[in-house]
């Protein structure tokens, strides 16, 4: 255990989340991390996959809920199952590899085999069990699964509210985000994966932090054309951050890009002129060209869905806690399934430009987060300040909102954290 000061000992978990600040121990205390795996990640809806990642019967994806390995799999009847990746005999994982396709799950240790829905199908040399093995009781543990707008969530808490109720006003924003398919189905077409030595909540905060953008991403802004740079100069602009309840929030950076199917008559940005020309040459009608080009640029907002997924402008940001001071992030690229090749190539190149270990944005974010964790090692009794934009916060039909660089979204997430951790 960590050595706690007297002042820290006296603080309850609830005390550590105030209206305008959270205690440093939320980033640094291994005991709090252990509790989070149980009270947050095992007690709410957690995003596990986009439907396009498991397109066919037998398609699977390995992922984690908190630190527990799970398999997301589509069975022969197209039903999606989320199964604990643990043989019911002696616990070995029954599925390896990030993604793939299979007919069944067979444990490599003693050969117990399971069907795609997790049912125990066969046990080699069953005679030793003298017909006393309760096969019906020994299927892979199957979790409750629900899907909205192609996004698949699972939960270990069987009596939790339906997913649609949990998402609440976030659903509207998910619908808007999926418009970047420009009429084609959205497809996850790969991802950049990286880790940083810091707590998962540092990344959770970052997706709703406009304040850092001009500073941390100065080198990225220097690499884009003037028009794009001006579009991304949103701090101090007319955007806003809105608390959507249940820890979810939306940060609207570019209000004119909330709905990608509106403003189709707006001039095509210079950086997409060549793409538009190419699409026209391929025979796409003018409105269709405008719709596709606008979708390629991505949405003008980040939607943070508590606790582990964000719809972030043009990609999915997936957060996976590893330990109190290590976090894995996936930035999944989105393409238009069956859409024009030139448009999808443009999306891939835009993703590579900012994201990933060699991108012009992600490494700088990662460096900043690493320094947050390092700095949090000093002054154990100090607080993380989250009071930006508090003074201007006003009620809205869906929650509360303040200016674009307000820490409203972070406050929303921490209030949900507090609710779950003190339940």
């Amino acid at each position: 255990m960590t050595n706690k000061t007297d002042a820290q000992q006296a603080l309850t978990l609830g005390d550590r989340v105030q209206a305008d600040r959270v205690h440093t121990s939320l980033y640094t205390d291994p005991a709090i991390f252990e509790q989070e795996m149980d009270k947050v990640f095992s007690s709410t809806w957690v995003w596990v996959a986009h439907a396009s990642e498991i397109p066919e019967a037998g398609s699977y994806k390995n992922t984690y809920i908190g630190v527990q390995p799970v398999i997301v799999v589509r069975d022969r009847k197209q039903k999606v199952h989320v199964l604990l990746n643990r043989c019911r005999h002696r616990a070995a994982t029954v599925c390896e590899g990030k993604k793939g396709k299979t007919n069944s799950f067979v444990c490599p240790y003693h050969g117990w085999s399971y069907s795609l829905d997790g049912a125990l199908r066969g046990v080699p040399h069953p005679e030793s069990y003298a017909d006393q093995l309760e096969k019906g009781e020994l299927g892979l543990v199957s979790l409750r699964v629900e899907e909205y707008a192609g996004m698949i969530f699972a939960t270990m808490k069987n009596d939790i509210e339906p997913l649609v109720d949990y998402l609440g006003p976030a659903k509207k924003w998910m619908g808007l985000f999926m418009k970047q398919g420009a009429g084609y189905p959205i497809k996850v077409a790969g991802e950049h994966r990286f880790r940083f030595p810091g707590n998962w909540k540092i990344q959770l905060e970052n997706t709703t932090d406009a304040y850092h953008f001009p500073l941390v991403h100065k080198s990225f802004l220097s690499s884009v054309d003037k028009q794009t740079e001006e579009m991304l100069d949103f701090v101090g602009g007319s955007g806003y951050v809105e608390d959507l309840g249940n820890g979810h929030s939306v940060m609207v950076m570019i209000p004119q890009l909330i709905d990608l199917e509106e403003n189709l008559d707006a001039p095509i940005p210079a950086r997409f002129a060549e793409l538009a020309e190419q699409l026209r040459a391929e025979g796409h009608a003018d409105q269709e060209v405008r719709r596709i080009v606008r979708a390629v640029g991505g949405s003008g907002f980040n939607l943070n869905i508590f606790p582990n997924i964000a719809c972030s402008m043009a990609f999915f940001r997936v957060l996976q806690p590893i330990s109190v001071n290590e976090t894995e992030i996936h930035h999944a690229v989105i393409t238009m399934d069956g859409g024009p090749q030139a448009a999808n190539q443009a999306r891939l190149r835009l993703h590579e430009h900012f994201q990933g270990p060699m991108g012009f944005g992600t490494p700088d974010d990662s460096e900043a987060w690493e320094r947050v964790q390092k700095g949090a090692g000093a002054g154990k009794d100090l607080w993380i300040m989250l009071n930006r934009g508090l003074a201007g916060e006003k009620p809205t039909p869906d929650g509360r909102a303040s200016d674009v660089s307000a820490e409203t979204g972070m406050r929303a997430a921490y209030q949900q954290w507090k609710k779950l951790m003190t339940a």
């Binding site: 790969g190 950049h192 080198s219 690229v333 891939l348 590579e352 490494p363 460096e367 900043a368």
Partner: protein, 158 residues
């Protein structure tokens, strides 16, 4: 075995490696054909780089931007600048038509920045075009052996 050709391509590739380890980026940018592509893929089996997600897929414009960023001092992940030393070896000429030479080689790179020493091993393929007694790079594909793993920031050119 054409040892004379191997010596020629090795000398060129060693020179490129030395430029990158010593930050001679202006000269490095001039080592390319105008249509040259610098690619760091994610999937080690991938060959259709244009239609898949990579770590880097740089044409001339992106190479210039990458170089500008590394030297700009605007990026906290590259200030301080990482120090690198790379060994390139195991050269094998895969094809040679007199103008174009395709070479595959092994690269072991050590990086030190702040208080961390990292090691990246890669299979590197070059498509070189003969030019004025030397070569220009038409394509360089760096296949990291751990490309499918989680990586941290790479603030230099592999």
């Amino acid at each position: 075995m054409n040892t004379e050709l191997i010596t020629q391509v090795a000398a060129f590739i060693w020179q490129e490696a030395d430029m990158l380890d010593h930050g001679e980026y202006a000269q490095w940018l001039e080592s390319w054909t105008p249509d040259g592509l610098y690619i760091v893929p994610i999937d080690p089996e991938q060959t259709d780089f244009a239609n898949t997600l990579n770590y880097a897929y740089d044409n001339a414009e992106m190479r210039e931007k990458r170089v500008a960023r590394l030297g700009s001092g605007e990026s906290i992940s590259t200030s301080p600048v990482p120090r690198t030393v790379r060994d390139v070896s195991r050269f094998r000429v895969l094809s040679n038509d007199g103008t174009h030479v395709t070479v595959r080689c092994a690269q072991n790179l050590r990086e030190f920045r702040k208080d961390v020493l990292k090691h990246y091993t890669a299979d590197v393929s070059f498509e070189l075009v003969r030019s004025g007694g030397s070569f220009l790079i038409r394509r360089k594909v760096v296949r990291l052996i751990n490309s499918t793993d989680t990586l941290q920031g790479i603030g230099y050119i592999l």
